[in-house]
């Protein structure tokens, strides 16, 4: 739209900054109510997120997970699919990679090969899981929001089941419910116990490749057209349903790949492998304005807040939920500025009419 004619009434334009300011003050009060000086809380947050090599290692490992799931969400939303299933696709990718890694992978395999096989397995599993939602939408008309949300729950139950039940993926050597360790050939090169792993290096090429696909290929043209105006896209011969099916699969593959990476970084399947990161990825993608390259910095910021808040909870006694509150506010502020998702035709229509017949 070259006519960014936002018809917020003048009251609304002032309301948001005031509201956000008000909540910020409220948050500072909450922090003080916890008996901590706000400045100390923020110092704890900062040093926990980026104050040491261990902090950075954890932050970057979190960033990698958020990045892959964030790319998956950004891609889906661009195509007009409200896929909120990155969480489930991530988990299923991790489960599948754990199954292949612990049961099938020969010990003697060189690590680049073992890691690649598991990444491919994770991606394939994520793609398949996402395709279930895609098929439900395409052939039965089920809303993808409902389908992906339900599949998330199923994936989570599947995870708990496989790591708790003997003969499946549970480590028989412990009384805890956790998976067997992966063989050495599936170990990601790390950096001396900091949590940092080689998978972080995959985020930049992944974002670049997606950016090129979205903006510089025929597939990207049909994807964006299908998201912005499916009726026109269809009338011009773009097979919108098929395009969306592919996007379901591709975004599932991205989230599943992230799941395999997180699994290999952890060395074994556990019940709490980056829980809820698939939902946080929605915020990451929205904050990045659904642009593949902007997902990188967006994921980094959210990862910094995430690791920082955990550290703050430990050292300053501030509940980490305070940070989630801030994140939620940031997202609301972004949305209130008029970030328009593809598919919300009403907004497009009025803006176009205002400028269109000018």
């Amino acid at each position: 739209m070259s006519s960014p004619e936002r018809r917020t009434d003048s009251a609304g334009a002032f309301l948001w900054p005031i509201l956000i300011l008000g909540v910020a003050v409220l948050l500072a009060l909450i922090v003080m109510a916890c008996g901590v000086e706000p400045r100390a809380a923020f110092a704890a947050l900062a040093s926990g997120a980026a104050g040491s090599s261990i902090a950075w290692g954890q932050t970057l490992a979190s960033m990698a997970v958020l990045c892959f799931s964030g790319l998956a969400i950004a891609l889906s939303f661009r195509a007009g699919i409200f896929n909120i299933g990155a969480e489930g696709q991530f988990v299923v990718g991790a489960i599948a990679a754990a199954a292949v890694g612990t049961k099938l992978l020969p010990e003697a395999l060189p690590w680049p090969l073992g890691v690649s096989v598991l990444l491919a397995v994770g991606a394939a599993a994520g793609a398949g899981w996402s395709a279930v939602a895609g098929a439900m939408k395409r052939w039965r008309g089920v809303s993808e929001v409902i389908a992906t949300l339900m599949l998330n729950l199923i994936a989570l139950i599947l995870l708990h089941f496989t790591v708790s039940y003997p003969y499946l993926l549970r480590d028989p050597g412990t009384i805890e419910s956790k998976g067997s360790s992966l063989p050495a050939c599936a170990a990601l090169p790390g950096w001396g116990g900091t949590g940092f792993h080689a998978g972080v290096f995959l985020t930049l090429p992944a974002a670049l490749v997606l950016w090129a696909i979205v903006y510089h290929t025929r597939a990207g043209l049909s994807l964006r057209a299908a998201g912005l105006n499916p009726v026109a896209a269809q009338a011009c011969g773009i097979p919108v349903e098929r395009v969306r099916m592919r996007v379901f699969a591709l975004s599932g593959a991205l989230a599943g790949l992230g799941g395999a990476l997180a699994l290999m970084a952890a060395g074994r399947l556990t019940k709490s492998l980056y829980p809820d990161y698939g939902y946080m990825a929605i915020a990451v993608a929205l904050a990045a304005n659904l642009h593949p390259l902007l997902v990188l910095p967006s994921a980094l910021i959210f990862a910094l807040l995430e690791t920082g808040s955990k550290a703050m909870e430990r050292s300053a006694g501030i509940p980490s939920e305070v940070v989630y509150l801030i994140e939620g506010l940031v997202i609301l502020a972004l949305l209130s500025r008029g970030l328009r998702l593809p598919g919300s035709r009403a907004a497009a229509g009025t803006a176009a009419e205002a400028g269109g017949e000018a």
Binding site: M1, H216, R218, L221, A225, C236, G237, G356
Partner: protein
Amino acid sequence: MPDLASSIPALACRGVSKSFGSNRALDAAELSVAAGSIHALVGENGAGKSTLMNIVSGLLRPDAGSVEVFGAAARFASPLDAVAAGVGMVHQHFLLAEAFTVAENVALGRRASSLGLRFDSKRYEAEVEKLSEETGLSVDPRARVEDLSVGLRQRVEILKALARGARILLLDEPTAVLAPPEVQALFTTLERLRAAGRTIVLITHKLDEVFALASDVTVLRRGKTVFAGPLTGFTAEDLARKMVGEAREINAERPVSGGEIILEAKALSVPAASGTGLHDAAFALCTGEILGIAGVEGNGQDELAGAIAGTLRPAPGAQLRLAGADLLAMNIRRRAEAGIAYIPSDRQREGLVLEFSLAENLILREAFARPNPFGRGPLIDRHRVSAMAGPKLADYEVRPPDPVLPAGSLSGGNQQKVVIARELSRHPKVILACNPTRGLDVAAAASVHARLLDAARKDRAAVLLISSDLDEVLRLSDRVAVLYNGRLKEAGVRGVGKEEIGRAMVGA
């Protein structure tokens, strides 16, 4: 209003300017509408008429200049403010809740009762009945809007505005969707409202309407007021010259051709998508020929177009052949490759991706051809796209001809030119044109007509022109058929009487 001094204009715009990005839609435009008059606001597409009306009705705010309503400065922050000041807008595309009754629609957006809890349908039905009686706009207040014809829906829109106390009525292209008898009824209504003291601003492209109704006229050209004054002593040519700035004419004269059959339909039935559906249609279309299909919208037009374009699936047993090949076995992309061009009725919904650049809109069909015309393998090379788009936009006189602009920033006429550039530059065998000049001004419509005639005459393309504009159909077509209630009836070759077809269109 009778108690107001007649020297105070009902509506006055002074030096109103408005820009969208670098596009200056209004440049110190002036408008002065005398109370109790019917005032025509005319101008080409992109002249700024709609922008000015959107400012007056509170949808947009001006960058500069002022608006006065009955002498009082009006600074509308929202359409509600405009309504409160007595300005009512009847949009070209109606804003009605179809599942609601007429009375419910009239009540919509107003306080239902003192507490806002209970909906007093009796009260609103009585109100509608009273208004109907006063104005001659008779509608059953208990009828559901979805059951009403387009003409009646328009009455509901007008009633809605009047019920909210509109003293100034703005009507945007009110006849665009109406059949001839409905147009007559609207004219009578407007005349009656004026006689009752209301002020009416009529935005239109059709000059005969201006002369039939208005006493005064304001002409906008490229955002500026180029003429304002009474209509007396004016001819249609004078006015057209003021609008366009230069004389442009189209030459519809062409020989009736005798080409071979290129598109043939038999037993074509399509389940209803929006109107009545299409029942058992049959026709044959020859190369170089223009077959016009007249009819009031919703009588099977969408279904006929959809079946040929490939967006709707006909009932089993239908036959549709393009030069002997089975069109129904092809998907949309294959149909385009086989030589079908489609100019949809609603360019913003079906023709363009408004957020896309002009260049991207232009390649929506060709980008998927084999071999890839715009790069290697799956890639699209932006330089190659721009190199193609620039000359094409210039060739089809799209203004501004800048390939990187989003399609949504262009005026309606220029958006339509982009669709036509995309579809006709492929040199198609069959052109399916649905209401191709809807909402366009005289000059833009003439340029579209010239393009279609050129395609038929020079390129020997067959044109299927489906239009609710009877003049357009009669002017361009070699043969005319009428769609009424889902049935297609051949009405004869060119020269057939307008009255006769007009009657067939409304089933009389």
